[in-house]
């Protein structure tokens, strides 16, 4: 039994670790499908479609964030070739799956370290989960 903290966290894309990750988060949600019928007095549901999405913040240090940013910030069109396998890890545990980068933000401000924020959406089911 042990606690986990930020120092245990990792983020990799296509098997390559991303350096200088400040934080990441992931969330999974299922749309419920209502199955309530006329004689019911309480609503009932069955699980519908699941979606998993996440976000990460990466310090812009030595191009650490570039491989992720350039998936959608580029002169060429975004294609299926820009789908990445992202693995979010902590210790020996991880969540992994094919992801589409849905948002990439690069911010630069006086008195702050330049950093990039990305958001991603899993496409299909996760290919690996160890919780």
């Amino acid at each position: 039994m042990s606690y986990y903290s930020g120092k245990d966290g990792t983020l990799t894309y296509n098997g390559t670790a991303v350096a200088k990750v400040s934080n990441w988060s992931v969330s999974s949600a299922v749309d419920p499908l209502e199955t309530t019928v006329l004689t019911d007095s309480d609503r009932s549901f069955v699980p519908g479609i699941r979606s998993i999405s996440g976000s990460a913040t990466i310090f812009y240090y030595d191009d650490a964030a570039v491989p992720l940013l350039q998936r959608i910030i580029k002169t060429a069109v975004v294609s299926e070739a820009d789908v990445l396998v992202i693995k979010l890890g902590w210790g020996s545990k991880f969540i992994q799956g094919s992801c589409v980068i849905t948002s990439a933000e690069l911010s630069c401000a006086v008195g702050e370290v330049m950093q990039a924020s990305i958001q991603f959406q899993f496409t299909g089911a996760p290919t690996g989960v160890v919780l």
């Binding site: 499908l33 209502e34 199955t35 019928v37 006329l38 004689t39 069955v46 519908g48 479609i49």
Partner: protein, 141 residues
Amino acid sequence: MSFEGPTFPTLAPTSRSLVPGDFPGTKFSAQNGAEARVQYGSRRTNTEFSLSFDNISDANAALIHDHYHNCRGTLGIFHVDYKPKEGNPGFHEGISGENTANRFSTIPWGLKYRYAEPPQFSSVKPGRMSVTVKLTGILDT
């Protein structure tokens, strides 16, 4: 006498609506606005009964599909069981279809249900479908 199909599947709907039809007749309107009506029959007809079944299992959707097929589409007449009509006990009471308190039924009013149009099946996700059914209550000769 029309071909009679099997009883409609015993499924509780998600929503239901009834338009009770009207007695057959004709309206005569004079140029001054006066109106006279002649009624041709003593029994109400053309009841519209709509049922929707949201997110039901494929197996239950298949029951409706097969019922439509076994009724030969919009040709056959059939009875609707109690289950698709329950839930409004002040409006529709009892299992017996003969009682005039069974207002979703056709029997007390001398009518028979048949499909007004082919039912619509919408796929929601693997294993789940939504179905809408429109029935009409007609006087069977």
